[in-house]
């Protein structure tokens, strides 16, 4: 008996629905993630960072926070997420097959040292609200690259949704305010580094999705994500930590790193970050195969208004009026995309 069109349509709707559920969950966890990420800068040893001061202090702190994030996330995701889903062995199988694994290595390079580190210094130099808002642009980078690399299909409504999200992002970002900030002689030294970090995060996250999906084409999302973090942890430990240590001073750097490792408040908030930001990644990797990279990144852009609300609730950071306006526009963009879901075809990519 051939299945009727109605139940086939229902199954497809189910797939899209789950894609959206994972995306929204990702946005909520991502937004919440800015709480531990902000606190990390304010706890021992970074609250009173004695090894380096001034700009060097911020940069070294950024390197240690971003690198530790990769290491802790790798451990938590491998034990908790891959373990919970019974896919620990799958992770190992994915890791050792380099033809698959190499795409997760590329994803880790863009997502880690470029995006996470960039976002970390944007939080340190400018603030979490700004860092979260500029990360919105990763949706646009990802969508355009997905179009270029995989000919992902976009309907007119998807394009309209992306444009609305972009407009919302720009309003939140407030380029006029940004220019004032950079050109203001009274602005803190090196504030431009914060903006540069923000741009790194947008480009890095956008590209990460495009390369991760190459691996996800043939592997399971739950088991691939810990592999991506394992690669990132290895990049930090084997390459970036030693390089920064040589530049910044070997003894001081490793002393600072050790101080972070042995600070219980630092490690506690890092594990909290793993359960918010790390888990947001798990849901994001589940989305890519279901609804495509461009659509996932655009939908998860909802994290920014969420982050702004969360930062207000936890730290009493009152956002500027343009941030409210931008958030409303971004939410409108999401709804435009959701209404498009009926016309999403069977495959997310163009036929070959």
């Amino acid at each position: 008996m051939v299945a009727n069109a109605e139940s086939i349509a229902k199954e497809k709707k189910n797939r899209i629905k789950w894609g959206f559920i994972w995306a929204i969950l990702c946005a909520v966890l991502w937004g919440l993630g800015y709480v531990p990420l902000t606190i990390l800068w304010g706890v021992d040893p970074f609250s009173n960072f004695v090894w380096f001061d001034g700009q060097a202090g911020y940069l070294v702190s950024g390197v240690i926070i971003a690198g530790m994030q990769a290491i802790v996330f790798a451990v938590v995701l491998l034990l908790f997420w891959a373990g919970l889903t019974g896919k620990f062995k799958e992770s190992i199988k994915t890791f050792v097959h380099f033809k698959i694994s190499k795409w997760l290595l590329v994803a880790a390079l863009f997502g880690g040292p470029c995006a996470v580190f960039g976002s970390t210094i944007a939080i340190g130099y400018i603030g979490a609200g700004f860092a979260s808002a500029i990360g919105l642009l990763s949706a646009v980078v990802g969508a355009l690259m997905a179009k270029l690399l995989y000919s992902e299909r976009f309907s007119k409504k998807t394009v309209a949704g992306i444009l609305l999200l972009l407009a919302g992002g720009f309003i939140i970002l407030n380029p006029l305010d940004m220019i004032n900030n950079i050109t203001n002689p009274a602005a803190p030294d090196g504030v431009w580094l914060g903006y540069l970090g923000g741009i790194m995060s947008a480009v890095g996250w956008g590209l990460e999705g495009c390369y991760a999906v190459r691996a996800l084409d043939t592997t399971d999302a739950d088991s691939s994500l810990p592999v991506r973090y394992t690669w990132e942890a290895l990049i930090w430990v084997a390459i970036l930590f030693p390089v920064v240590a040589v530049i910044a001073g070997f003894g001081n750097f490793y002393e600072a790193l050790f101080a972070a490792l042995t600070s219980s408040s630092f490690m506690f908030w890092m594990v909290m970050a793993a359960f918010t930001l790390g888990m947001c990644y798990a849901t994001m990797y589940k989305c890519y195969p279901l609804i495509g990279v461009g659509r996932t990144l655009s939908l998860t852009a909802m994290y920014s208004p969420i982050a702004i609300i969360v930062l207000f609730v936890f730290f009493g950071v009152v956002p500027a009026y343009w941030i409210f306006v931008g958030a409303i526009v971004a939410v409108a963009g999401m709804f435009v995309m959701y209404w498009e879901s009926d016309s999403i075809s069977d495959t997310t990519r163009e036929e070959v």
Binding site: K10, E11, H97, K99, L216, T218, T219, D220, L290, T348
Partner: protein, 94 residues
């Protein structure tokens, strides 16, 4: 070491170009000596992902009478696409 399950299930389509999803799932589980509802449903999910990526395409459907996954579910018969074959040859073979 064996390929991850999702890679293996795609590769199975190089031998049998067309398979019902429950056939592919059974073949994968038999090959790996696993048998549980968990991996059976995971297999079905992977096949759906693979079809979304355009590696396999549904050429026939049937309604599950409860014998395979659950009553009322749509069963798909998948066929390997040209892109799927390319992916197997570039990513999953030495």
């Amino acid at each position: 070491m064996d390929l991850p399950y999702k890679s293996q299930i795609l590769k199975l389509f190089k031998e049998d170009r067309e398979m019902w999803e429950y056939e592919a799932a059974e073949k994968l589980m038999k090959k790996n000596g696993i048998s549980s509802d968990y991996w059976k449903w995971n297999s079905r999910f992977w096949l759906m992902e693979l079809s979304v990526a355009g590696f396999i395409v549904a050429v026939d459907t049937a309604e599950d009478d409860g014998a395979h996954f659950a009553k009322g579910k749509v069963l798909s018969k998948y066929k390997l696409t040209e892109r799927g074959l390319q992916t197997i040859e570039t990513m999953l073979e030495d």
